[in-house]
């Protein structure tokens, strides 16, 4: 894993590449999130300086869009689809069960940094509703019963 300094160097390179194109702020922030896993305050400061915009502008964009995370996420990010097709097939129960098992509310990360629990919109796999993803892995046709078994695969 690259250390923090290397990551900031990577960010500086991205800024250098993109800074002259119109509307560069969002693409730079998207790259930054890929590099750091989130856009924390120090990252926002670096972006503001690099692009010559105010910190409040960067902060405004970071908080407006749900994609941007201000805190790093857990090792496994669980995203439960609360799109309409999944919702009518009971995905709220899946989310409730996960929240109960992990003992965290939606949007939070477990203390050991292992799991982050999110709700998302249609994942494009409505045929498998209700659906959730854990990192890249997709789990479909879920029932609350299946949750403990699935989580166990990641805690071992």
């Amino acid at each position: 894993m690259p250390d923090k300094k290397e990551k900031f160097e990577q960010l500086a390179k991205v800024i250098e590449e993109l800074k002259d194109q119109p509307g560069a702020l969002m693409p730079v922030m998207q790259h930054a999130q890929n590099i750091f896993g989130c856009v924390s305050l120090d990252v926002q400061k670096a972006i503001a300086e690099g692009l010559g915009v105010t910190l409040s502008e960067v902060y405004g964009v970071a908080t407006f869009y749900s994609q941007f995370k201000l805190k790093p996420a857990g090792k496994y990010v669980i995203s439960v689809c609360l799109g309409t097709a999944c919702y009518v097939k009971g995905s709220q129960k899946i989310l409730d069960k996960l929240s109960e098992e992990l003992k965290i509310p939606v949007g939070d990360t477990t203390d050991d940094g292992l799991f982050t629990l999110n709700a998302t919109r249609c994942l494009g796999a409505c045929g498998l509703a209700p659906v959730m993803t854990i990192n890249e892995e997709v789990y479909g046709r879920l029932t609350p019963d299946a949750i403990p078994g699935i989580l166990a695969k990641y805690t071992e």
Partner: protein
């Protein structure tokens, strides 16, 4: 191009990829090579076939044998039986829900799901490899652009689109030709073409499937639009949550450049056009056109009042023409086959077809494209196969968070822009969610309102505060704490928000509440007056009971109960203590004798 005697089409759409189609494709390639067939049989990874419910989907041509729910383990059998010996593998052939038929000789068009469809926007999805421009070219790809650039004037192109009657598929239904004309008429050396691929409806995936299955059709259409209105640059605003779509767009743009179909002096016409991708970052309001343009500029995606309209002052303050993905996907076909052909399909005021993402309590979940004017009943029953498990249909929701829920009495409504509005819903971008007797309509209204409250950008008060008030009332009702006056309050608030919110998000946010109040008022009243949820969905109003006649005392429920609410001795009838019950529903799932029910 090489000639193959057979093609194995494997769906690489999001649905099938989620259920393992990548491994299936890899296995096919490996096994075909092992069998020495790799010069005779070609494996093609396509976009979504539409029938995602049956995924992962594999079709073997020339026979057109349709295999469904294929597993990696089945690949060997398909290769050894079908590809080597020419015998379709009967037990893997798709079973038609309506007829329960499993007929290997039936081609796609004969299957109930496809029979009533007409694929224009989806014509290449599930047919070509979206990452290979040669396949798009083999299906008349970029011929429309060539025709426009070499044989038509800019005015003729606009006129053709105008006469076709094409209307915006992003929800509003604005005549596309008019929009092109307005932007054409805006003076200025620099103009932009933009594509809305933000797909905000939380239960829909039409645009995603077009981008994943046929990205070139959108690029081609944007270039045609650029020529017509006088723009040399295009932007596609696509959700970052659609990684496959983004990647295929990138591949497609690169290939189009290599073939000289984007870039400088296309078809020696002197016209140059380039397309850039911008990623959205998860804000529903950014689907609104003015907000989308702010977002491309790298700002917070807040709407601004119109006028000025984007056609006059849009992206980077230049005249900009924004269309939806599906709108664009129709354009090359209109240019190629003419406006008369296109306008012969559909109803008087809604021409062509519409793609719907059919989901929820329906047998054939997936993507369907039907001529405008097809009835809801045809879509839900003939194509969708009705509700699963013999449950009773209750409502169909169209238009996503801006739309409404229509009851069974309205199933014979022919679907078009005007009919759906008259019925109390709207076309929207194409989400179509079916609900059965187990879905609570008050809760569905609450679900959509929670979404809009969450997504309101907060710029104007009616939307920011008004929708929140409505949500609070709905939350009270589903908890059994509502009052009859709440219904009037909801209607009053709805009226105000609709009249005064700044953008479409706020103006349409009350629709799900209004339509359910109109068609399912009984359910609201049951929650408020009788403290009952007729669908047995709302937790606070539920009671779990064990029927002592049916209970065999197997103790399965008591062991599953997290609240320790179930008492009873082995082989004796059990009983639930309502004070301890958490209403989690786990006991019902565990009881093999159907002794537990919700009341």
């Amino acid at each position: 191009m090489e000639i193959y005697r057979a093609h194995v089409l494997c769906c690489g759409g999001t649905g099938c990829t989620s259920s393992g189609s990548a491994q299936i494709i890899a296995r096919f390639e490996e096994k075909i090579k092992e069998a020495g067939l790799d010069k005779e049989v070609k494996v093609v990874r396509t976009g979504c076939f539409g029938l995602c419910e049956a995924g992962p989907v594999v079709i073997v041509y020339p026979e057109g044998t349709f295999y469904s729910r294929v597993k990696v383990e089945n690949v060997d059998e398909i290769v050894s039986e079908h590809l080597l010996k020419g015998r379709p593998v009967q037990h893997l052939v798709y079973t038609d829900h309506a007829t329960q038929e499993q007929d290997a000789s039936k081609s796609l068009d004969e299957i109930g799901f496809y029979k009533h469809q007409k694929r224009i926007a989806l014509r290449n999805c599930g047919v070509i490899d979206p990452e290979n421009i040669d396949e798009y070219l083999a299906f008349d790809g970029y011929k429309a652009l060539e025709k426009a650039l070499t044989k038509m004037t800019r005015e003729e192109v606009i006129d053709e689109i105008l006469k076709s009657g094409l209307r915006g598929r992003g929800g509003g239904g604005f005549p596309t030709g008019l929009k092109w004309k307005f932007t054409y008429n805006s003076p200025g050396p620099v103009k932009y073409v933009a594509c809305n691929a933000d797909e905000g409806d939380p239960g829909a995936f039409m645009d995603r499937s077009v981008l994943e299955g046929d990205p070139h059709s959108v690029l081609e259409a944007m270039a045609i639009a650029g020529y017509a209105i006088g723009a040399n640059e295009g932007y596609i605003y696509v959700r970052a949550e659609y990684p496959i779509a983004v990647k295929r767009l990138e591949v497609a743009i690169k290939q189009a450049h290599e073939y000289g179909l984007l870039g400088e002096n296309i078809f020696d016409s002197g016209f140059s056009f380039d397309i850039k991708i911008r990623l959205g970052a998860g804000a529903f309001v950014c689907g609104e056109e003015t907000a989308l343009m702010r977002s491309i500029e790298g700002k917070r995606g807040e709407p601004i009042p119109r006028p000025p309209f984007p056609a006059v002052k849009g992206l980077f303050a230049k005249p900009t023409m924004l269309n939806n993905v599906e709108t664009y996907a129709n354009v090359p076909q209109i240019i190629l086959h003419g406006s008369e052909w296109f306008s012969s399909i559909g109803t008087e005021k809604s021409k062509g077809t519409k793609v719907f993402a059919l989901g929820g309590k329906i047998n054939n979940t997936g993507l369907v494209e039907v001529p405008m004017g097809t009835t809801l009943r045809t879509i839900i029953y003939d194509i969708g196969g009705g509700c699963p498990n013999g449950k009773k249909f209750k409502a169909v929701q169209t238009g996503g968070p801006s739309g409404g829920c229509l009851p069974a009495e309205l199933l014979d409504t022919p679907v078009d822009y005007d009919n759906l509005i008259a019925a109390g819903s709207m076309m929207g971008s194409g989400g179509m969610i079916v609900m059965d007797e187990d879905n609570c309509m008050v809760d569905i209204a609450r679900f959509f309102l929670e979404f809009t409250v969450d997504e309101s950008c907060g710029k104007c008060t009616p939307c920011r505060v008004g929708t929140r008030r409505m949500l609070e009332i709905l939350n009270r009702i589903v908890e059994g704490k509502g009052e009859m006056e709440d219904l009037d309050k909801l209607e009053e608030l709805a009226k105000n928000i609709k009249a005064t919110a700044l953008c479409g998000l706020g103006q349409t946010a009350p629709n799900p509440v209004l339509s359910t109040l109109k068609f399912f008022r009984n359910e609201y009243i049951a929650h408020i007056r009788d403290h009952k949820c007729p669908a047995h969905h709302c937790k606070a109003l539920l009671e779990y009971v064990i029927d002592p006649e049916k209970c065999r005392g197997c103790t399965a429920c008591a062991r599953a109960c997290p609240g320790g609410a179930i008492e009873g001795k082995l082989k004796e009838a059990h009983h639930i203590d309502p004070a301890k019950c958490l209403k989690c529903g786990q006991c019902i799932e565990k009881c093999k004798f159907g002794a537990i029910s919700r009341k």
